[in-house]
């Protein structure tokens, strides 16, 4: 996993609430056995019109959104399924951070495991960012801060372990394997029981 310590980018804004994982990547693109290359399907049914052309009305298709690595999205982002294809698609599309006032549990876990910062802000902070698309933010993951162009600063909470993994690029499977002896002991204990 690519470590993420600092991020400076303009924001792209999707005001919709309850953006679900089917919205992020429709199920018909899940027949892949790869995890790369899914960016082209991100928000597919919003991004493209029926004839396959890009819909200029869609916020992420606007010229000002190009190259943005921070997505500010409406409340309850990522609800729905456990499909990790959702964060894979967003990362492959070029995003490194998603900010909202509420983010679905499983999506957030999946995002953080893949190096996509997914954090929540207060309602007021969230409203401010939704209302000001395109402003440049500077995110410091270790400090848990988001700096605004005018010098204002928002703070976000991040689970200590997720922060550690994200900033160090730590691989959680490796971490889990370090507990091999305890897992052996647990299994042995239960076998005696059973």
């Amino acid at each position: 996993m690519k470590p993420l310590t600092h991020l400076r980018s303009r924001t792209a804004v999707l005001t919709h609430e309850n953006i679900d994982t089917d919205r992020i990547i429709p199920a018909r693109f899940l027949t892949t056995t790869e995890r790369n290359g899914l960016g082209r399907y991100a928000f597919n049914d919003w991004r493209y019109r029926a004839d396959g052309s890009a819909d200029p009305e869609f916020a992420l298709n606007r010229p000002s959104s190009q190259g943005c690595e921070i997505l500010v999205a409406g409340r309850n982002f990522g609800c729905g399924s456990s499909r990790e294809h959702a964060p894979w698609a967003l990362l492959d599309y070029g995003l490194r951070a998603v900010l909202s006032s509420e983010i679905a549990d499983i999506f957030r876990g999946n995002a953080l495991k893949n190096g996509l910062l997914a954090v929540t802000l207060s309602e007021a902070e969230h409203r401010y960012l939704l209302a000001h698309p395109g402003i440049e933010l500077a995110i410091d993951v270790a400090a848990g801060t988001i700096e605004l162009p005018d010098g204002g600063r928002f703070r976000f909470e991040l689970d200590a372990f997720a922060r550690h993994c994200l900033t160090q690029g730590v691989d959680q499977l490796g971490f889990l394997q370090q507990h091999g002896a305890q897992i052996d002991a647990f299994e042995a204990r239960r076998e005696v029981h059973a």
Binding site: N18, G74, L176
Partner: protein
């Protein structure tokens, strides 16, 4: 208050904790049963290979094919007709992965194949007291047995394959008390939709929902599964129901359930699982089962629900207005009477034998409306065989519905079974997100009874009106 009193969740958690969580790191939780299918596993096996790892406990895995699989019969050459080459390749990949890593796959030739959340309970693999995970959010279904069951991502699938464990923090505990009895004609699906409407699609975020109370105790196992299945639609990690005599009677004698002395031993343990008197929950909600009426969704998430004959509420904000526009639904009018194009009876929410029986009881001796196409997709080969034995397949065929092979089908619409843009689908599945059943498709979530009644009427209709003289399609006065 007894400080040592523990909830069902506490007991499940404590029994599986390999390493306790700390402020700095999540705990290590042991997983008893890992369910896998073709869609969310290929990348996990790739990772395993890349690291030269093996599968730690292949015997703790139940593998099946369900999401990408066609529900149409084989072609003249005896081949399955996949929606795409990619879908065929994905299935082939799981077959190969199972072969290579020593995992028993309920594949095409298995009489136990089916939707992952249908076959686990059916085989008796799902048992009280277990931790169960799957790369699929509706894993919450298995909570009906008093097992802690939740959906995980593909990276975590890899973790479980390699270590049989997950890094987890303990979720919060939310008790949902439902007292009384559901009225006749009101199903577990209605209860689930009603609850999500009440607490919202994010009402359960960060929590496990424990369903309690006399109304829950009165539910059959299949009804409990329907209810727990939908817990994720309220944003919850999992749903839970304490195991009781109903649970034990369901499991006894099933293929993978313990036998003989092992059964007695298991039973003694299972009886210790229900929450202790005086145990504390982080949140609680109480309501009366009599408040629940037949309920359907009218919007684009499962929290936008309304009682069958009640007027659709006015949009409170822009997203709701967008949803009503997308659904082409008018606020202030009931959903009954809206013309229907497709009816889907299936999915891990409502594809069990009791669901098929309920729908067939209405369709028996009747024909579905000429403007409606109806797909009936049993949840597993076992359900399919049982239905065929009871002659339900013939009831569906005679009524003009299509009797299909088992699979997820139109619940996720990735196998080629899907609606056309703009079509209105009355669906017994669990998600009505925009485009879930095909680009532009409009989904109305409903119980098997409402689905069958709507197929007959050609428009959204009340099952209690089927067979009554007069036009079932007309919307009438609010009954309750």
């Amino acid at each position: 208050m007894n400080p040592s009193a523990r909830t069902l969740l506490d007991k499940l958690w404590d029994a599986h904790q390999v390493v306790a969580e700390t402020a700095a790191a999540p705990g290590v939780l042991y997983i008893d049963l890992h369910l896998i299918h073709e869609v969310t596993t290929p990348q996990a096996f790739t990772e395993l290979r890349a690291r030269g790892l093996s599968v730690r406990r292949p015997e703790r895995i139940l593998a099946t094919l369900d999401h990408s699989t066609p529900t149409t019969p084989r072609d003249a050459q005896g081949q399955h007709v996949y929606a795409s080459e990619e879908a065929a390749a994905q299935v082939a990949q799981l077959e190969l992965n199972c072969l290579q890593f020593g995992i028993d796959l309920q594949g095409w030739s298995s009489e136990s194949r089916g939707i992952v959340h249908v076959i686990g309970p059916e085989l008796g693999a799902t048992q009280p007291g277990m931790t169960i995970v799957c790369g699929d959010s509706h894993t919450s279904t298995h909570g009906a047995f008093g097992a802690l069951a939740f959906g995980i991502g593909t990276t975590e699938v890899g973790h479980v394959l390699a270590t049989q464990c997950l890094l987890q923090r303990k979720p919060k505990n939310f008790a949902i008390h439902v007292e009384g009895r559901l009225a006749p004609g009101v199903t577990a699906k209605d209860l689930a939709l009603h609850l999500i409407g009440r607490i919202g699609v994010n009402g359960g975020t960060g929590h496990v929902l424990e369903y309690r109370g006399s109304a829950i105790e009165a539910l059959t196992m299949e009804e409990r599964m329907t209810l727990c299945n939908m817990s994720i639609e309220a944003g919850a990690r999992a749903g839970l129901i304490a195991p009781d005599e109903t649970t034990f009677a369901y499991l006894q004698g099933r293929e993978r359930a313990p036998k003989g002395a092992a059964w007695d031993q298991a039973l003694a343990y299972w009886r210790t699982l229900p929450s202790d008197a005086g145990a504390r929950y982080d949140r609680e909600l109480r309501f009366d089962a009599a408040d629940v009426r037949p309920t359907i969704s009218y919007g684009t998430h499962p929290g936008m629900v309304v009682a069958l004959h009640a007027p659709v509420p006015a949009a409170k904000d822009l997203p709701e207005r967008r949803a009503l526009d997308y659904m082409r639904v008018d606020a202030g009018k009931p959903m009954t009477g809206m013309p229907v194009d497709l009816v889907f009876l299936g999915s891990c929410t409502n594809s069990r034998i009791s669901d098929l029986r309920a729908a067939a009881s209405l369709l028996q001796g009747r024909r579905i409306a000429a403007n409606v196409r109806m797909l009936v997709v049993p949840g597993s080969v076992t359900v399919q065989r049982e239905a065929e034995k009871e002659g339900l397949d013939q009831v569906f065929r005679d009524a003009g519905a299509e009797w299909r092979e088992p699979g997820c089908s139109m619940c996720i619409a990735m196998n080629g079974d899907l609606a056309q843009p703009g079509q209105l689908v009355v669906s017994t599945s669990n998600r009505n997100f925009e485009g879930r059943q095909g680009p532009g498709a409009r989904t109305v979530l409903a119980s098997p009874l409402v689905a069958a009644a709507s197929a007959l009427a050609g428009c959204i209709a009340d099952p209690r009106d089927v067979g009554k003289s007069g036009d079932t399609s007309s919307t009438r006065e609010q009954a309750a």
